[in-house]
């Protein structure tokens, strides 16, 4: 049996794909993440997120391996061997799964070792890491079962592409475009990263994703055994797998979003663990005090500098927030409170810039400077957008359409503001900023 497994490992289709998987690991955005603020939660989720790239390749390789005998016309020849067909099938499946798991585990270990040198907060999250491993194994088993049940030249390509589509569609549950059940996709973040330093990790979704992956593996194993002739055992295992996936789907559908934006499932919930974690903020900045969670302390100077540059033209104008705090919120919720504190979500900083989130962070923060307290970015009027656009442009950036949809009139107004002399501009801002915040000002 061990010898058979060794032969299958040597002759597995996944071997050819290992260089492709290695390239995928190198080009995946996890690389740039390694230079950012190192949170154990974030890195664990990065590793789980690679499932969307590795899963389809594991499934394609599994399907490709599964119909190898069919492709070479060797089905009858192998039927004469002393091993049971189910044993042969499961050994081949195990070899595919071992290679797929290795493609996940080996680079993951490297990333975990790097993170252990850099980490500023938390500890490795076992459940997302395990979830990724189970999902890659399940993808391999699913592809193998499809290859056995529907052998043909279209099977491997369509299984790989179809699985990528399914995983991606599930991940879109984050945007609300897809039903809650999509969160069972291992590509959906099983831990809410926005809140991972503010609240204890909520494991509900990770548990259900693991259960879903185990269920898919069970169903695929059952289908493989059933196809090999052991009908009763195969049907029992496949049914158990399908029931497990169904139960996970029902449970996740009954979930709701908690205060930390994590998906919480009443049946698995432990109310006591959702208390915010205590921490002492670290502050910096000149014009505005910027306070961050200690996990983000190493990049406080970059953040404070970027936000102060944005607020510079509003210095000494009435109503400017006196402090910017990080909190467990989304960018769409960025606003100034009535006590003059502007709350922003944690920002992952790359080098000396705000990184991929720079445009939405600039946009929402600039709007919060010129909005009335308590108003979100979506409620801004044209005059507020024009002043915000000027603030962003004078800081050397440009606005994006998501939070600051601009018309020619708004762009012209921002340009007029920029064309004034510094003294005239400051006078205009000091005189009109209250009306701008109240929503009663005309375009500059």
């Amino acid at each position: 049996m061990t010898r058979l497994l060794r032969i299958e490992l040597r002759r597995n289709a996944s071997l050819v794909l290992l260089p492709v998987i290695a390239v995928l690991w190198l080009i995946w955005p996890i690389g740039p993440h390694l230079t950012q603020i190192a949170l154990w939660g974030s890195r664990s989720m990065d590793i789980q997120g690679t499932v969307i790239a590795l899963g389809p390749f594991a499934a394609g390789a599994g399907a490709w391996t599964a119909y190898r005998e069919h492709r070479h016309g060797a089905c009858d020849l192998l039927a004469t061997t002393p091993r049971a067909a189910a044993t042969r099938g499961l050994t081949t499946l195990a070899a595919s799964a071992v290679w797929a798991a290795l493609g996940y585990v080996a680079p993951a270990v490297v990333i975990l070792v790097i993170t252990s040198q850099q980490a500023t907060w938390g500890h490795p999250l076992v459940l997302p890491l395990l979830d990724g491993l189970l999902a890659v194994t399940a993808s391999s088993a699913l592809g193998f079962a499809c290859g056995r049940l529907v052998p043909g030249r279209f099977t491997a390509p369509l299984v790989a592409v179809g699985l990528l589509g399914l995983l991606t569609l599930g991940a879109e549950a984050k945007t609300g475009h897809v039903a809650f059940v999509g969160a069972l996709s291992p590509a959906y973040p099983s831990v809410s990263l926005d809140a991972s330093v503010f609240f204890p990790v909520q494991p509900d979704l990770a548990v259900l994703q693991c259960a879903g992956a185990i269920g898919v593996t069970g169903a695929a194993l059952g289908a493989t055994v059933w196809h090999a002739g052991a009908r009763r055992i195969g049907l029992a295992v496949a049914t158990t797998g399908v029931v497990l996936v169904g139960a996970a789907a029902v449970l996740v559908s009954s979930g709701h979003r908690g205060a930390d934006n994590a998906i919480m499932v009443p049946a698995l919930d432990s109310v006591g663990v959702r208390q915010p974690l205590p921490y002492t903020p670290v502050c910096g900045g000149t014009l505005l005090r910027v306070c961050v969670h200690p996990a983000y302390e190493v990049k406080l100077a970059v953040l404070a500098s970027a936000l102060n540059r944005l607020a510079a033209p509003l210095a000494d104008t009435p109503g400017l927030p006196h402090e910017i705090d990080e909190g467990p919120i989304y960018l769409s919720q960025v606003t100034t409170t009535h006590s003059g504190v502007l709350e922003i979500p944690p920002v992952f900083i790359q080098g000396d810039t705000l990184g991929p989130e720079s445009t939405p962070v600039n946009d929402t923060t600039a709007l919060a400077f010129v909005d009335a307290p308590g108003e979100g970015p979506a409620q801004a009027d044209d005059a507020q957008r024009a002043v915000a656009l000027y603030l962003i442009q004078q800081a050397g950036a440009d606005a994006g359409p998501e939070f600051i949809p601009t018309s020619p009139a708004i762009r012209a107004a921002a340009a007029r503001l920029a064309a004034r002399s510094p003294a005239a501009r400051h006078t205009w801002l000091a005189t009109h900023i209250v009306a701008v915040r109240a929503g009663t000002a005309d375009l500059p």
């Binding site: 969307i52 390509p157 990528l164 589509g165 569609l169 945007t175």
Partner: protein, 181 residues
Amino acid sequence: MTIRLIGLYTRSRRVDWCLAVIAVTAGLRWMVRTQGTGPDAFAILLRLVPLIAAGVVVTAGLAGPFGLVERSASTWLPWLRCGQVLATTLVASGAFALSGTSMRDLAGFIGLTLLTGAALGPARCWTVPLGYALACAGEAYLDEQPWWAWPLRAAGDTGALAMGMALLVAGVVAASATGTR
């Protein structure tokens, strides 16, 4: 004789089945038109996945069941393959045009899949396009647009259009000349 040859060829390549799958993938693309809108990585992947599916169907459909016997028996094969690729690509263009897909992206992905099929074989024709789509999604996640990521460019970008069309032409020529191994 010619009509009969083409008929037998299309049956051996299961062209009817290919066209049905292309229609289904175009339908799926239409169904995810809401989710596949926007600049984020997952939306871009959702836009590209049906195009890869159409590409792999066009490419895997080129594989024949007769192997070397067929290669040694006919000098018509390159023309038949060329006709098959052009016909299935044309049908895919029509079906995806109805679902509001960028023809540049479709052409580019069919070309890329055909080139991969010519180099690695029909069973592996999905590997490079899938990896490329994932790489593009990764760049979109980082809010970057490197020169090679033409699917991320705006609709009117002539450089991206040229890359997409060049891939299609190269793919059709390679697949017609060599088939899929």
